[in-house]
Structures are given as structure tokens and as C-alpha cells.
């Protein structure tokens, strides 16, 4: 009898033990990631940096206004018009100071170009430069911008993508911009949320990749058919086409998308990054697709792109890809890929993806494994811009993630209505008329951005609340720049229908750094696509010059490396898009080096100007 009772008690104890597993894991996680609250000096001492919100101090009062779409979509407008706040960094007048451009989306609301005066002040010069008033009925609403010297003039030109007509502005030696859209041959209408400058055939001229979100036949401002929503939450097949426009070198572009194999699918592309992921010498395209799987398009000798999503290990589990960035997170000379997705407790747990190259990853088709969970960067929330950035200059790439979808009436929630519609058949989900009225309800709103610190040994730790970056706006686009010339990477966070935020990064002074500002000669003048390998402290850090990445954003052009307490660099190797490899032995640290592409393979010693 007693034996039976003991057995029953044992079974009940096992059951209770099982119930306590999540509780125990939560407590362990809280213990390991305990928040540290201290003053700025204490935080810098502990984490190596502190993010100070200096938006007000700088007098920057830009507030994004979302686009007003066709009245047939008014009942779900906050989720339709949930994007458009973007930031891109540029030195548009070549004075060595980092300026930045912000987009607005409501018709009549103006975009802004904040010029850096070098004394800690910024002024909006978009109006006088002719690039402010760009949200216009008939032309569309701004979604983002990228900067690249498409005509190799030595000045960065502006490409603006809209839900509507994209625009190209030629930079007139930093004194103003001339609209050259018509003569450039760019498409007339497009619903784009991402674009990247790249030189896909390495001919020395920048080409344009543009990612389509809504189908290009859908005019969200004069809607003719409400059957324009995704036809499936996981395997949508009715998104916009992706385009590649080839620069002809005479100021015109031609559409080569079909020829190079980019028109095979109609996924809902939200973000793209372009980098030579397989060391072939040609830039490849990595896509974060909403309502679908991630993709890698391998560039085959500048002639064609081959979709390797599944072969590379990415293309199996469909999620909601929102942003993509690439970095060498272990300082091993190999790129990993970070893609943000959606996680909402109890409703939708996708988790972000950190695609890390496997040991057998070599040759034309790379191979990746999602290690976001193992490395601790999986559970964000409703993610948008996810950016690699070495915040504390210790040489390890950290991650900043913008979170939050729609912050409306507090203590309300649209998730129930959303979940029941997206669970339905395509004939229901595809029609906006079937989507319940949002009625000013919050939808994954008031979420806090994440700051994940990389320990260099394969683990990241979330410290946003400790280091000053815990913003709970509906953040979208994130870019970094050395705004104050201190060698630290400051953050600009564009927020949807909310004010922009600028964070000055105060870094531990003992942490060294080095920066490189490249100028192509045989390669495109912006040097977009150049890869750099920094040899230091028995490590190899790999970075590249980007023509736009993350979510609707672009970082500063110079390539920046943190060095921690290391006080010397062995060498840096630059692989220019032209194929030329340049090596610089022992460059000076704690300064930017301006490097012009040599005529052939060279080795330099010391500082290069």
C-alpha cells in the first residue's frame, strides 16, 4: 500500500518538476542577464560604452509622419503604413564630416538632410539642396534612401525609393542636387522598401538593386482592388518583383532583372544586403523576405544570380524577414548574417536568425546554420532594423535591434484579430476587406529596442536597459556614424510616426580603433563592395563597404574597426571590386586612413593618405 502511495507521490513530483522547468529557466536567465544600473562612468567602466540621447541637445526635432493610403485601407492603415521612417548616412559635401538624411512619408511632409557643422551642431539643408519636398501625390511616399557615386564624380548621389516613383538625384559637388530620374531610365512605379547600390559586374559603375514589397501594380494611394494583401502568411507568392538596374556609365540604367535571374519569385522583400559572401570576387544578394524564407542569390561571374537559399541552409523555415545585415562576429574572417523576424509571446514565436557559416562552408555555395538561439540573439520582439555595430570598440561586433510595430491606444491589442485572419485560407487573407478594423488598437507596440553585447566567445548579452539604448518607440531604421569625430560609432534611430533619436556613444577611452575611407579608381569611386581584412591580435576581422543594408538604412561609408586594448595592427588587406588586392602593413591606429585604389597589387607600409 505504502509502495503504491510513494509511486504516486513520485509521479506527481516529476509532473511538478516539469511544470517548474520554464520558471527555473527564466530565473536562471534573469540571474545571468541581471541589469546593472549605474551612472555613466560606472556603465562605461563595466560595458565599455554608454549611449546618451542627445537629440534634443542637438536641436533635431524631426518627426516622421506616416503615409495616408487609400480610404479602402483606412481600417488597417497603421499596419499598412507601418514603414517609411528611414535614415541613411553620407558625407555629401566631402568635408570629412558625417551628415544624415531622414525620410518622411505623408504627402506634404518633408524629408531632411542634416548637415554636420563639425562643432556638434547639425542643420537641415534638404530644402536648399532641393531634396526635401519628395512626398507628393501622384509620385508617392518616401520609404528610404541610399547614397552612392553612380557617375564617379567624387560626390555621393542620392537614390530615393518610394511606394511610388523612385528618384535619382545627382550631387552637384556638394552644392545642391539635380533630379535626373527621367533620363536615368529607372522604373515608373514601384512599392519598394529596400534598395542597395552594388557593382554586380565589377565594371566600375554602381548598379541598383531594388526590392519589391507590394506588387508593383498596386497603387496604395488609389487602390482599385482590395485583394492586395499577402496570399499566405508563410509562403506568400504575390509580392513585388525585385529589380536590378545596370548602370550604363552614361547616366542611364537598364533593367537586367530578368536576364540575371531575379524574376523567378514574387516574395515580399523587405530588406537586402549585398556582400561577397562566398569570396568569389563578385557581390551576392541576401534577402530578408516577409511571409517567406530568407534567400541568398549567388553572383555567377557578374552574369547571373543563382538562388541558393535552400542549398545554403537558409531557405527552409519561413518567417517574417524584416532586416538583414552581415558581419564577422567571431573575428575569423568569415561573414555571418543576421535577419530579424517577429516574436510575440504566446502568439507568434519566430525568433531572429543568425546564420553562421558552417565548417564545410566553402566554394561557390556557402553553408549556414542558424545559431541565434545558441548565441543568445534569438528572441527580439517585432523586429525591424537589426544592425551589427562594435559599440564599445572592443573588436567584437555587437547587435542593435529596433523593435515595435504599432504603438496606439495603450492596453489594447490587435493580435487576436490578426491571428485569426492570417490563419485563414488565401482567399480570406488576401483581401483587405476581410481584415478586422484596427480601431486604434496597439499591435506589438511599446516594445524596447535591444542591445546585444558580443563577448567574443560565441555569446551575446542583452544590456539595453543598462547602457542607455532602451528606446520603446516604433523603431524602424538604424544607422551608425561617427557624428562627432571621436572614433566612436553613434546611433541614429528613425521611428515610425514618431521623433528620430540620436545617441551619442561615449566609449571607454582606452579602447583603440582604426578607420578606413576608401576611394575606388578602377572600381566604382564609392568603393562599394570592397572587402577589408584586418589582422590584429592574432585575429582576422572582415568588413566590407556597403551600399545599404539593415532595414531601409545605410551606415557611414568609412569602415571602422574597434581594437580594444590592442595598441597596434599587423596589417590590413583590401580586396577592391576591380580584383586588385592591396596590403597595408602596420597602419597607425586611432585615426581614419583615406585610401585611394592603386593601379595594381601593392603593399604599403605605415599610414596612407
Amino acid at each position: 500500500m505504502n509502495k503504491e502511495l510513494y509511486k504516486k507521490i513520485l509521479v506527481v513530483l516529476i509532473f511538478i518538476l516539469l511544470l517548474f522547468v520554464p520558471f527555473g529557466m527564466k530565473k536562471y536567465d534573469e540571474f545571468v542577464n541581471a541589469e546593472f544600473i549605474g551612472n555613466m562612468e560606472e556603465v562605461i567602466e563595466r560595458y565599455g560604452f554608454f549611449l546618451e540621447d542627445v537629440t534634443e541637445q542637438l536641436g533635431i526635432n524631426f518627426v516622421h509622419q506616416r503615409a495616408t493610403v487609400d480610404e479602402k485601407l483606412h481600417h488597417i492603415m497603421p499596419q499598412i503604413s507601418s514603414v517609411g521612417a528611414s535614415v541613411s548616412v553620407v558625407d555629401f559635401n566631402n568635408n570629412g564630416l558625417q551628415d544624415f538624411y531622414l525620410t518622411n512619408s505623408e504627402f506634404g511632409a518633408k524629408n531632411a538632410l542634416y548637415m554636420n557643422l563639425g562643432n556638434g551642431e547639425f542643420i537641415d539643408v534638404a530644402e536648399e539642396m532641393g531634396i526635401a519636398d519628395l512626398n507628393i501625390p501622384g509620385l508617392g511616399a518616401s520609404m528610404g534612401t541610399i547614397w552612392g557615386d553612380y557617375n564617379n564624380s567624387g560626390y555621393e548621389d542620392l537614390f530615393l525609393y518610394r511606394w511610388g516613383r523612385p528618384e535619382l538625384f545627382r550631387n552637384d559637388e556638394g552644392q545642391g542636387f539635380t533630379r535626373v530620374t527621367e533620363e536615368s531610365g529607372l522604373p515608373v512605379y514601384f512599392n519598394a522598401n529596400t534598395a542597395v547600390w552594388l557593382d554586380y559586374n565589377n565594371n566600375g559603375y554602381l548598379d541598383l538593386f531594388i526590392g519589391g514589397y507590394y506588387h508593383e501594380d498596386v497603387n496604395l494611394f488609389e487602390l482599385t482592388d482590395t485583394r492586395m494583401m499577402p496570399d499566405n502568411y508563410e509562403y506568400a507568392t504575390n509580392g513585388g518583383l525585385n529589380y536590378l538596374y545596370e548602370n550604363q556609365g552614361d547616366g542611364t540604367f537598364i533593367d537586367v532583372s530578368e536576364k540575371v535571374g531575379l524574376h523567378d519569385t514574387r516574395r515580399w522583400t523587405l530588406a537586402a544586403a549585398v556582400v561577397d559572401i562566398n569570396d568569389s570576387g563578385y557581390p551576392d544578394i541576401i534577402l530578408a523576405n516577409d511571409y517567406g524564407v530568407d534567400e541568398i542569390f549567388i553572383n555567377q561571374n557578374g552574369e547571373r544570380f543563382y538562388n541558393t537559399g535552400q542549398e545554403a541552409g537558409l531557405g527552409f523555415i519561413p518567417k517574417s524577414g524584416m532586416s538583414v545585415d552581415v558581419a564577422d562576429i567571431m573575428n575569423q574572417g568569415r561573414f555571418s548574417i543576421y535577419i530579424t523576424n517577429i516574436s510575440e509571446a504566446g502568439v507568434l514565436m519566430q525568433g531572429n536568425n543568425l546564420w553562421v557559416p558552417t565548417r564545410r562552408s566553402s566554394g561557390e555555395i556557402p553553408s549556414f546554420r542558424n545559431l541565434a538561439g545558441n548565441m543568445g540573439v534569438e528572441i527580439g520582439e517585432w523586429g525591424y532594423g537589426g544592425k551589427f555595430i562594435d559599440l564599445n570598440r572592443n573588436g567584437n561586433m555587437d547587435i542593435y535591434v529596433a523593435n515595435g510595430y504599432v504603438s496606439a491606444e495603450p492596453d489594447t491589442d490587435y493580435w487576436y484579430d490578426y491571428a485569426r485572419v492570417v490563419g485563414g485560407n488565401r482567399n480570406i487573407i488576401i483581401d483587405a476587406n476581410n481584415w478586422p478594423d484596427m480601431q486604434n488598437r496597439t499591435f506589438s507596440g511599446y516594445q524596447t529596442n535591444k542591445v546585444w553585447l558580443n563577448d567574443g566567445a560565441g555569446r551575446f548579452r542583452e544590456v539595453a536597459h543598462s547602457v542607455g539604448g532602451a528606446l520603446n518607440y516604433d523603431s524602424r531604421s538604424v544607422a551608425y556614424a561617427d557624428l562627432f569625430g571621436t572614433g566612436s560609432l553613434d546611433l541614429i534611430v528613425a521611428n515610425q510616426h514618431q521623433p528620430v533619436k540620436i545617441y551619442r556613444n561615449h566609449v571607454k577611452p582606452e579602447h583603440n580603433w582604426i578607420g578606413f575611407d576608401l576611394e575606388g579608381v578602377s572600381s566604382n569611386r564609392s568603393a562599394i563592395g570592397a572587402t577589408m581584412l584586418l589582422y590584429w591580435d592574432e585575429k582576422i576581422s572582415k568588413k566590407y563597404v556597403s551600399g545599404g543594408n539593415g532595414f531601409s538604412s545605410q551606415n557611414m561609408r568609412p569602415v571602422h574597426f574597434g581594437l580594444g586594448l590592442t595598441d597596434a595592427v599587423e596589417k590590413v588587406e583590401i580586396r577592391w571590386p576591380s580584383g586588385i588586392t592591396q596590403t597595408i602593413e602596420g597602419p597607425e591606429i586611432n585615426q581614419y586612413h583615406r585610401i585611394k585604389e592603386p593601379a595594381d597589387q601593392t603593399v604599403h607600409i605605415g599610414t596612407i593618405e
Binding site: 509521479v11 502568411y233 484579430d417 476581410n434
Partner: protein, 273 residues
Amino acid sequence: MIDKFRIPPSYIGPLLISAVVIAAHLSFGVLDGWEKFLAALIAAMVTELVLHKLVTGKWRNLSSAYISGNSAGILVRSPMIWPFALTAAISIASKYVFRFRDTHIWNPTNFGIVVMLLIASDSMAVLSIQWGSNMWAMLMIWIVGFFVISKVKLFHVCAVYVLSFLAFAWVRTLFNDSIFLAEIAPLTGPMYQLFVLFMITDPKTTVSTQNGRMFVAFLIALVEMFFRLGEAVYAPFYALFIVGPIALIIDILWQERKEKLAAKDELATPVKI
């Protein structure tokens, strides 16, 4: 040789569900990943083995645990592996803890899912989105499902539930300004296909009479309506979680009473000599 090959009846269920899972995953990628699915399967079978041995001292056929592991592997959605294993383990363990008159009273997977939603909602969710985009695929699953269910004489349960759901969906539109199509949208997704075809028809946790089963199906839809009006995303699971065991206990007691009365009647009946 072929004549000698016979599939034991207890393996037909597991083989059937395996075929469905493999076909669904290869066609629509329904699983979150094979490793997660395997974690659920292994956890279910190990828990069953250990607990059954502990309680009875004997090893047990694992077909039932295999089916529960499959259900947890399909229904749980999480970027992590442990929620899959834990859901399966809790599902199986519940059978040994919550018993009435020596029978378990909750559908194990329903119990596991609901408890996990209560204790680990920040780490997991439940399958709530559709697989594939094809209307015909959905219809085919319903047709095959209903065919199989009618073979085991439980079609009436599904039919009453679906009809009740449709009726209550219309009732909900009177309260929440929603259109009828939005209200019935979940019924067209895979979560409901699994719920209707496999969960509410679980023979171990359904009542004994046909009328009783139909009434319980109606009650589940009714309780679900209230959860839906309260905007609970996983309303059907909560409804079954509440209605299922209550109905089963009442049914068992009712049957006992009937047996007692019958026995009494038998005793009271005069014996003819």
C-alpha cells in the same frame, strides 16, 4: 511472403499520422524543423516509458505516446527546442497524474498545450497559420480527414462542432462588428483541421454515447465563442480544456449510476420459478 506481412492494428494510427506529417512537411514545410519534431517524439516516448514502468512495473506499447509526440511536434511553434520536448513530456505526464476512476480525463496534447501557454508563453506559441496557399489542399485534408473519422464512426462529433462553430461565428458578428468571413477564417487553417479531426475525437477522452458526444462538441463550440469574444487566440484549446474533463467525469458518473440502477432493477426483479 507478402501474405505473411501484416501491420499490427496498434501501429496503424502511428503509421497514419507519420505519413500525414511527412507528406505535409515535404509539401508545405509544416514542421518547425525535424530536430524539434524529434525532440517532441523522444520526450513523449521516454516519459511514457519511465512513468508507466514506475507506476505499473511493466513496459508499455508506445503507440499512444508516439501520437502525442507527433501532435506536440506539429502544434508547438518555438525557435527553441525545449518547448517541444516539455510540451510532449507534460502531455504524457498528465495522463498519470490527473485520473478519475482509473482513466485520464484530459486529452494529453490539449492539456500540454494549454499548460505550456500558461507557464511558458514567452517561449512558445501554437500553430496558427496556414500551410500552402492551395484551396484544394485544404479541401483534400478535410475530405480525407472526414472519411477516416467516419470510418471510426466519429463523423458526427466533427460535423456538430463545425456546424456549431459556423453558427457561433455568425453570433459573434452581432457583438464585435466583424465580418462573417473573418470570423470563420480560423476554420480554414491547419490548427483547426488538427483540432477538429484529431483532438476532439480522441476516443480515450470522449464520452460514451453518440448524443453525449454531439452535445459535448456543441458545448466546446459554445465555450469557445466566449473565449473568442474575450479575444483569446487559442480559444478552441481552452474550451476543450474546460469542457472535456467535466463532460468525461459526468459521463463516467452517469454510466456508473445507470449500471447501479440496472443492477438494482435486476435484484428487484422477481425471479420466476
